[in-house]
């Protein structure tokens, strides 16, 4: 287990990472999400031992990485952002170089080489210079380098950037496979990727963690987490009375003709207003043509959480549900430490 406690890093006056705490469990793929400049890469660099934190601690299995950095880094495989590699070397030379720096035994290196060449699909380019590789192959070489020594912990900064859709599927499959026996920390701003791969998601924005929860619980963090789509037929369709009863509800009209009105209500997942809505419509004597609910995608959750809509919602006179959510978020850090 990797435990990150009160980690901060300043660059001059800029707080790139501001007092964050979270954990990565064994056999877990953790998605580390955030917009550009949120502090993702800085955090990853501190975990892998490249950047010195201003304050805070990082522990692997209860042992601080600062106490024995060599031991810590021997357990970590790291794929940095932009995937820097030695362009003048061939793929096999690079892998052999890293193997000897990691002091892998010759037989073990051969065994692992077969594994990474097979799984990363490097057979055709093994003797090609890295500088001449296509971006996809370059990314695979970086990944091969990261998993060459069979690390317990795999840390990847945007692993599928620059790959074509087929390659993305292959690499994702590989990551998923690796996640069965390793701790994987995956940073990304591609939502589908995180949605497809990760069990748990940490969202970071402006150096602070705003969400740390399982993928399925994410919608709970929002004021608007579900969309209730409604199509009614009737004269003088008007929902202002209904909205007056539930002031936190937001309505958006998609289509309105003389007799048909199509609209959407954004609601939280704790309350279900379908019953109330149906009886309201029956009371008015209108006809329901369609009533359906849909969960908001992770993408829109991400957008809403990081674009500040969430924080502005906090300052509004909040409904009890919202207050509960706010309390939940602020208590994440404490929960993690327990």
């Amino acid at each position: 287990m990797i435990k990150i406690e009160n980690l901060s890093r300043n660059f001059g006056n800029i707080k790139a990472v501001d007092d964050i705490s979270f954990c990565i469990q064994d056999r877990e793929i953790l998605g580390f999400l955030g917009p550009n400049g949120a502090g993702k890469t800085t955090t990853l660099r501190m975990i892998v031992g490249y950047l010195q934190p201003t304050s805070g601690n990082i522990e692997i299995d209860g042992e601080s990485i600062f106490a024995n950095p060599i031991k810590a880094s021997s357990q970590i495989g790291y794929l940095p952002e932009h995937n820097p590699l030695y362009d003048e070397m061939t793929v096999i030379e690079l892998l052999a170089y890293f193997a000897s720096l990691r002091k892998l035994k010759r037989d073990y290196f051969k065994e692992r080489l077969d594994y990474v060449v097979k799984n990363c699909g490097l057979k055709e380019v093994l003797y090609q210079k890295i500088g001449t590789l296509s971006k996809g192959y370059r990314q695979r070489t970086g990944l091969a380098q990261a998993i060459l020594h069979n690390p317990r912990i795999l840390i990847m900064d945007e692993p599928t950037s620059g790959l074509d859709p087929n390659q993305i599927i292959e690499i994702r499959e590989l990551i998923r496979e690796l996640g069965k026996e390793k701790m994987v920390l995956l940073s990304s701003h591609i939502m589908q990727e995180v949605q497809a791969l990760c069990d748990r998601i940490v969202i970071i924005n402006k150096g602070k963690i705003i969400v740390d929860d399982t993928k399925d619980n994410l919608p709970n963090y929002l004021k608007k987490s579900r969309l209730l789509t409604l199509e009614v037929q009737g004269d003088n369709v008007d929902f202002s009375d209904f909205l007056a009863m539930y002031p936190f509800l937001e309505m958006e009209v998609f289509l309105q003709t003389e007799t048909i009105c199509k609209m959407g209500f954004y609601e939280t997942s704790e309350i279900d207003l379908r019953k109330e809505l149906a009886s309201f419509i029956r009371q008015k004597g209108w006809l329901i043509l369609e009533l359906s609910t849909s969960k908001l995608s992770l993408e829109s959750i991400f957008h809403e959480l990081t674009e500040g809509e969430y924080s502005s919602a906090k300052t509004e006179v909040a409904s009890p549900e919202q207050e509960e959510q706010n309390a939940h978020i602020t208590s994440i850090d404490e929960e993690e430490q327990q």
């Binding site: 950047l51 060599i70 940095p80 932009h82 362009d87 170089y97 990691r102």
Partner: protein, 240 residues
Amino acid sequence: MTTVFTIAKKEYQVAMRLVSTYIVFILFLVVIGVFFSNMVFKIGQAELRFLFEMIHIIFLFYIPAITMGSIAKERQSGTLELLSTLPIKLSSIIWGKILAALYQIITIIFLSLTFFVIIVIFGEGIDYGAIICGYIGLIMVGFAYASIGVFASSFPSNQILAFVLALLISAAFYVLKFVLPLLPFRVLPVVQYLSFDYHLSSFLKGVIDTRDILFFLGVTVIFALLAQFNLQSRNLMQER
């Protein structure tokens, strides 16, 4: 320790693949050759001492040029991030880079053996001891310059600035011999002791003095430590 050699070997192999390395080798041989032929065929002197002094001057430019990229280029391309997250000591990286430069220096010195062979064939009464000592002295001074070059490259800046800085520091040690006559008698021994030329000259005379070897090794170690300190300062990198 094996890590140092692994890094040095890789750096050397990569350098020996670059066309520019060979261009520099050829230029070096041409420049040295011009001076050599002047000395041997016009003056008719069968010694290499003057040649060694020429090589020393060329080192002032050559060694900063081969070391300027050692860390600065890795930082620029991002591979330093990769390298410093491997389970290796920071000092191994620095010594690996210094050793790689030393390999190149030894290669270029080896090439200059051409002139030694010519002297052996055509010359008479050659002081072999002085020539062998001279080569050892050149390797020692090259080692110290390599360390200065890697130190200059460890600043977070670009390669050109690293080159200029390495040249300035190296030249400072070199030009001390010219300022000696201008100095008061009291500080003279101290400044003289710091002069690279002073220590090299006893090698060129054919004397191997442990103190001279220790001096060059001392300078090498000091700049290697400064380079390491440089990487760790400003909390750039974690200590290891």
